[in-house]
């Protein structure tokens, strides 16, 4: 079992959970943060990937 992490959008608070992925935007469950394309944007507010922070 990989150790999945969560990342949070600093603009709107949306949480990206690696375990769940984001199927609506084409990100399969289990996709690690670094494997998400750089053009991907927050599905709720459109902020860029760089706006996300790793959650403690």
């Amino acid at each position: 079992m990989p150790d999945y992490k969560k990342y949070q959008c600093g603009v709107c608070g949306h949480i990206y959970d690696e375990a769940e992925g984001d199927p609506d935007t084409g990100i399969a469950p289990g996709t690690l943060w670094e494997d998400i394309p750089d053009e991907w944007r927050c599905p709720e507010c459109g902020a860029e990937k760089s706006e996300y922070d790793l959650m403690a």
């Binding site: 600093g10 603009v11 709107c12 608070g13 949306h14 709720e44 507010c45 459109g46 902020a47």
Partner: protein
């Protein structure tokens, strides 16, 4: 059933999409005076450092919603709610398809008037910028940053200076969340910025005193001149400049008023719905009329709170769609959420007060 939604912000659009996903048969019509599509309001405060913002801020063009069988009437202002007849009146210059049962009384110009029947009406009208009464007579002298239309006007004004190889000198009135964000973004884009705040510390409502001090330092280091304890009395137009009057008078190229927001309650009030600071709703987001619901920036919950942030609004929208589709019985309860000032280089130490 005819579901009519007023507003194309996160509240109206999230509700429309979720309800469409849950119920294939009902008609959904979304009315909005916007023309540009569904866009991200939080990104407005990054509107000067990002050159392609006018495109990238659009989360979804209205045609995407139409493809999903949501009837969007854009460029249309709702001018009245008729509760007895369960209809709304609209006025605008839209060009798009109408539901067939819509009564068209065309007037001889590109502007048209219509009435639209509803079984359930969803008020997702959001908020406008709050303008303190002493500033209202000067409305032509300042900008606000509340919508994409506002941002475009600001960018155009700013471009006029950049194309003459100079950066404008701005005054921003209001050191709350939006004032600080805009000051930071304009400074990061190379402009000269003076921020006037009435209180003795920045963002006093959301931040602990220690974080206000940190924010002050971050803004000052980025070149923003911050003036606290300022009683701004009004503005004066001087040829190409605009002046801010406090105890002294200082002149600037451009002026932005950022003093908070005001829920758009006027239509609901005229229709006789119960109003407080926002449109009053119960725990089911239902107004004092059982066929009318309200959510987002415009809705005031029984605890007196307005949930004016993306996360809780999305949560309200998804909940309401499930509730109206018969898939939820329990009332709406606010999710845990926080916020973050989008000031370049600022990280608060303490939690925000939201």
């Amino acid at each position: 059933m005819q579901i009519v939604i007023i507003g194309s912000g996160v509240a109206g659009v999230s509700f429309a999409e979720k309800y469409r996903a849950l119920s294939a048969d009902d008609d959904i019509t979304l009315v909005t005076w916007e023309d540009d599509g569904y866009y991200s309001r939080p990104l407005l405060s990054r509107g000067f450092t990002k050159t392609d913002i006018e495109q990238t801020i659009i989360l979804k063009p209205f045609d995407k919603l139409r493809e999903n069988n949501i009837n969007v009437l854009c460029g249309a202002e709702v001018t009245a709610i008729n509760r007895a007849g369960k209809s709304i009146a609209l006025n605008g210059s839209w060009s798009h398809r109408f539901p067939t049962d819509c009564d068209t009384s065309a007037i001889p110009s590109s502007r048209q008037e219509k009435t639209l029947q509803y079984d359930k009406l969803i008020l997702a009208q959001g908020s406008s910028a709050f303008i303190p009464p002493p500033f209202r007579p000067y409305e032509k002298l300042f900008f606000c940053l509340n919508s994409l239309v506002d941002l475009k006007a600001l960018r155009k004004f700013r471009q006029g200076f950049l194309s003459q190889n100079r950066h404008p000198d701005w005054a921003i009135v209001g050191g709350g969340l939006i004032g600080c964000e805009v000051a930071s973004d304009l400074a990061a884009a190379g402009d000269k910025v003076t921020l006037f705040h009435a209180m003795d510390r920045l963002m006093e409502r959301q931040l602990a005193a220690e974080d206000s001090a940190l924010l002050l330092k971050v803004l000052q280091d980025s070149g923003v001149k911050v003036l606290l304890n300022q009683a701004v009395q009004g503005f004066i137009k001087e040829e190409n400049k605009v002046c801010v009057r406090t105890e002294v008078t200082a002149e600037f190229d451009g002026l932005i008023v950022a003093c908070g927001f005001k829920p758009r309650t006027e239509l609901a009030e005229l229709a006789g719905l119960e109003i407080g600071r926002g449109i009053k709703v119960n725990q089911y987001l239902q107004t004092s009329d059982e066929s009318i619901y309200a959510l987002g920036d415009v809705a005031e919950l029984p605890n007196g709170k307005l949930y004016a942030f993306i996360l809780p609004i999305r949560n309200q929208a998804l909940w309401l769609a499930e509730f109206l589709a018969g898939q939820k019985q329990d009332s709406w309860t606010p999710p845990v959420f926080t916020t973050k000032a989008k000031v370049h280089g600022f990280e608060a130490v303490h939690p925000y007060n939201v």
